[in-house]
C-alpha cells in the first residue's frame, strides 16, 4: 500500500510518501497507526494526539475504523485549512 503524509504530519514523520506491504494483523486505520507508532521517534510524535489527525483512504475522507486492504492509498494529515 501507499502511505502519504501532509503538512506537519509529514514534517514530524520526516517523509511525504512510502510504500508498505499491509502489515500482518492490520485490519483498520487504527491498527495501521498502532504499527506506525511502534517505529518510535517522529511517528510517535505525529500520532500522539489522534484527535488532531485526519485520514483519507483512496482519496476519500474516512474514519480510523475504516477497513484497509493491500494496495490502498492511505493519507494522514491535520484538519484542512485551505480557501
Amino acid at each position: 500500500m501507499t502511505l502519504l503524509y501532509f503538512a506537519w504530519v509529514r514534517q514530524k514523520t520526516g517523509r511525504g510518501e512510502e510504500q508498505l506491504a499491509l502489515p500482518a494483523g492490520v485490519k483498520t486505520v487504527s491498527d495501521l497507526i498502532a504499527v506506525l507508532t511502534q517505529r518510535g521517534g517522529g511517528f510517535v510524535d505525529a500520532f500522539a494526539d489522534p484527535k488532531r489527525i485526519r485520514v483519507a483512504v483512496n482519496q476519500e475522507h474516512t474514519s480510523f475504523d475504516a477497513a484497509l486492504k493491500e494496495g490502498d492509498e492511505v493519507a494522514f494529515f491535520p484538519p484542512v485549512t485551505g480557501g
Partner: protein, 148 residues
Amino acid sequence: MTVRIVIQRDDFDISAEISKLDGEDTGAVATFTGKVRKDGDLVALTLEHYPHMTEREIGRIVEDAQGRWPLLGVTILHRIGRLLPGDRIVLVAVAAKHRGAAFEACQFLMDYLKTRAPFWKEEERSGGRHWVAARHSDDAAAERWRGT
C-alpha cells in the same frame, strides 16, 4: 453545466474565469475571492495540497451543490505555493439563472472547500513558521448546510 476545477501556482483573472463560465441562460453570477490578508508580521503563506484527492474532493463538493441548486456553471480555482499578503488564494464562481441559487451555492462551496478540500497553510512570520490551525467557525459554517 460547465465545471472547472483548477489547482495552480499562478494568479488568476476573475473576469477571464467568469467569461469561461458564462452561458446565454445565465442571469446571475456570484463569485468569491479569498486573499492573503495583511496580518501583523505575516510575511507569507505557503499552501500545500494532496494532489489528485484535491480535485476529486472538490468534484464531490460540486456534485453535492448541483444536487441542491439548479446551477449552470461552477469554477473553483485554488492556488498553491508561496503567497504574499494581498495575493489572491481562491476563486469560487457560480452561474445560475437566478441570484438565490448563485449566492447560496457560492457560499456552500466556500464553506465546504474550507472544511473538506485537502489544503494546508503554513505561515511565515518574523518569529518563524507554523501551520495554521483549523477554525471552529469554519466547521460551524459548513455544519449549517447539514440537513438542508
